[in-house]
């Protein structure tokens, strides 16, 4: 039977689609989706796959950062390609040797306060679209806080924890890792920001603070920049990050809050 079951059109009927972003009231032909809904799902999946498997254009990123007056240095993790990266999260957290040397030349011993790491993570689209605008929004706030920033580190095949060895080599007090989050079907371009005080290889994840879902239609860039700079301010005052930050801030003398 090829009858289309469309939602009934009585006046009283409520539109479920107004109540949730879930794919409700799609209609059906037998057990099959209407063709348009079927293809639209496949397009969303294709976009998500592309976000995972496409490389970040680091040359273009460097150009955009240079135009903002920021310099950049490229590093790689120990995961040599995407296929290894998705299977071996451990390798994505380790800094490759030549990259460590490059970092040392670029900035070790200069006593930077903050290291900013742009990591491809699981979504190149998130990095391509949202990393530079976010940096543009919060870097000026660093000078307000009287904090110096190392050259921006562009990290390839990188997990969040790669920020630890990077921050350690640069001798930074704090790292901010901007990472492409695992893409969902409805949004493939979410950027996450993970901030760690005292970056050191082997830091536990409970020692980081996270601001997630940064994208148009999620947490807007400007708001994300506000939250990040507030977190940085609190961490520099308390020398603590992660789950312990809240109680450390509560213990600060009121003149410092």
């Amino acid at each position: 039977m090829a009858k289309v079951i469309e939602p009934s059109s009585t006046e009283e009927r409520l539109d479920l689609r107004q109540m949730t972003d879930a794919r409700v009231s799609l209609g059906r032909h037998g057990a099959g989706l209407p063709t348009r809904a079927q293809l639209s799902f496949l397009l969303d999946h294709a976009r998500a796959r592309e976000a995972v498997w496409t490389s970040v254009d680091r040359t273009a990123l460097t150009d955009r950062l240079n135009r903002l007056g920021l310099s950049a240095v490229e590093v790689d993790s120990m995961a040599s390609d995407r296929s290894i990266y998705v299977r071996r999260p451990d390798l994505g957290r380790l800094l490759e040797a030549a990259s460590a040397d490059r970092l040392k030349q670029a900035g070790a011993g200069k006593g930077y306060d903050v290291a900013i790491v742009v990591a491809d993570g699981l979504s190149s689209s998130a990095v391509d679209l949202n990393a530079v605008p976010l940096i543009e929004a919060f870097v000026p706030k660093l000078s307000t806080l009287n904090l110096s920033a190392a050259p921006i580190v562009l990290a390839n095949q990188a997990r969040v924890a790669l920020g630890d060895p990077v921050g350690e080599v640069l001798g930074a007090k704090l790292t901010i890792v901007l990472v492409g989050e695992r893409p969902g079907l409805s949004a493939a371009d979410s950027l996450g920001a993970y901030i760690t005080y005292g970056p050191k290889q082997g830091n536990p994840d409970s020692g980081r603070n996270c601001v997630s879902n940064i994208r148009e239609g999620g947490l807007p860039i400007r708001e994300a920049a506000e939250i990040i700079s507030k977190l940085i301010g609190d961490m520099m005052k308390t020398r603590v990050s992660g789950v312990a930050l809240k109680s450390a801030v509560a213990k600060l003398p009121s003149s410092q809050v």
Binding site: E12, L14, A22, V24, R28, A31, L42, G184
Partner: protein
């Protein structure tokens, strides 16, 4: 003790039982990540040959994780029933495979041997079975459970309607639940994964779902998949809790990562039963598991992920659950790399769960960084129906907007009912017909106003 096989003058040696099991496991990324997988297909076959010659009794003599360090190992040893085991106690793993496949090994014989089998024995035999072998055996083994309806009868397929919402918005949850009911989904449970673990939200969610079930007189049960401690608090505060949920894994350390131990699960089980909301003797627990959970918590002790998964079933079966499902493709490609690995793991988990006496379902699913797609899910779903799976999970349009992964769609459940002829639980099937959703043959025919206008009649959400 070491194990050996010789293939064309090459001797393959495996130092102990857990090494033998790991090397005999069909290829998967999680065991490679753990550094315990076979070097290649020939070494894997050598391990499978040595495993096939191993007496089942060997698993009673050598523990993979010592009982001294692990309460799950202690539970497995304590529950082993030598009388039930006697039917297969003289067999090797290879002979056990043949015994399972024989037509004279009927449902009743499989049921009788349930508590004689340990998780390690069923994991071992699955490693030398093809998909078809496991499906043929699983299809013989029915595990029937009850709360307000009867789940797991032969030839039927139940569904969990999973109306998740990114912020647990009441209207969003109900809209999604109604969408699923309109497609005939929800006889296993209508169950929400909450975005927070706050007790107030837990109580709001179970109250919403309970009102929906009560007003529409649906013969099903509801659940908020919060932590057991949250469920216990909600029960103390008088919330309408049908099923108590918990994620579990195959070692004490991994369970500690989930914030539970056997004593806490026992407490939760008793709290759930104390409410008496189901039929007399109803099963009240709901567990989720998944290969890789122990490794991701660094709590696998060098044991392969599929054997660790089967050990989680020893935990689950201690508490007479209504529902257990593996969330097979959720954990990501570092554990199950692609569609092929996800499909095999889904069939293995169902097979091992059923042999151990669990009412086994599967969340047929994948994430966007795994090398898998809807066609892999079509394949796994169709195979699971052939294997007589108790239930699967469905969401609107296969897209879970809260957990950001793809499960099955409510449409897929229609395919199972109408093409594969797998009707839902009989009580629910009758309700679908009486409320005007299906015709006498079980085909979807309409959208009764009682459902499509439900939102207006709710006291808890308003229109």
């Amino acid at each position: 003790m070491a194990y050996k096989t010789t293939i064309e003058q090459t001797v393959f040696r495996f130092d102990d039982l857990k090494t033998l099991l790991a090397k005999a496991t069909p290829e998967r990324s999680g065991d490679q990540l753990a550094g315990i997988a076979a070097e290649g297909p020939v070494e894997r076959l050598a391990a499978q040959m040595a495993l096939a010659n191993l007496p089942l009794k060997a698993f009673l003599d050598e523990e993979l994780i010592s009982s001294d360090d692990d309460e799950v190992s202690r539970l497995i040893a304590a529950r082993h029933d030598p009388a039930a085991f006697s039917a297969v106690s003289s067999l090797t793993v290879g002979e056990f495979r043949e015994w399972l496949l024989r037509p004279e090994t009927t449902h009743d014989r499989l049921k009788a041997v349930t508590w004689g089998l340990t998780p390690e024995m069923v994991a071992a035999v699955s490693k030398i079975m093809r998909l078809q072998d496991m499906i043929a055996v699983s299809a013989k083994r029915r595990v029937v459970t009850r709360f307000r309806n009867t789940i797991g009868l032969a030839g039927r397929l139940s569904t969990r309607n999973q109306p998740n919402h990114p912020t647990d918005d009441s209207r969003g949850i109900i809209a999604s639940a109604i969408d699923g009911l309109l497609m005939g989904s929800g006889d296993a449970v209508i169950g929400v994964n909450p975005a927070t673990d706050a007790t107030d939200d837990y109580i709001r969610i179970v109250s919403l779902l309970d009102e929906l079930r009560e007003k529409l007189q649906i013969p099903t049960q509801t659940c908020c998949l919060g932590h057991v401690t949250t469920a216990i608090q909600a029960i103390e505060r008088g919330a309408p809790v049908d099923l108590v949920f918990q994620s579990v894994a195959g070692s004490e350390k991994a369970n500690r990562g989930f914030g539970v131990d056997l004593a806490l699960l026992k407490e939760a089980h008793e709290a759930g039963r104390s409410l008496g909301r189901g039929m007399p003797g109803a099963n009240v627990m709901y567990f989720e598991t998944g290969q890789g959970a122990a490794l991701s918590a660094d709590a696998h002790f060098g044991v392969d992920q599929q054997t660790m998964e089967a050990r989680a079933y020893a935990v689950a079966r201690e508490f007479d659950p209504l529902l257990v499902n593996t969330v097979v493709g959720f954990i990501g490609p570092e554990y199950l790399f692609n569609g092929k690995q996800i499909i095999r793991a889904g069939i293995e988990d169902h097979f091992c769960g059923k042999l151990l006496g669990l009412p086994m379902g599967v969340d047929v699913c994948y994430t966007n960084h795994a090398d898998a797609d809807q066609e892999d899910m079509d394949t796994l779903l169709t195979l699971l129906c052939a294997a007589n799976v108790n239930f699967v999970i469905t969401v609107p349009g296969a897209d879970d907007i809260m957990l950001n992964y793809q499960s099955l769609s409510h449409h897929d459940a229609v395919y199972c009912r109408e093409t594969l002829k797998r009707p839902p639980a009989p009580e629910f099937e009758k309700w679908l017909n009486e409320i005007g959703l299906t015709d006498r043959d079980g085909a979807l025919i309409g959208e009764p106003a009682a459902l499509s206008n439900y939102v207006r009649s709710s006291n808890l959400i308003g229109a």
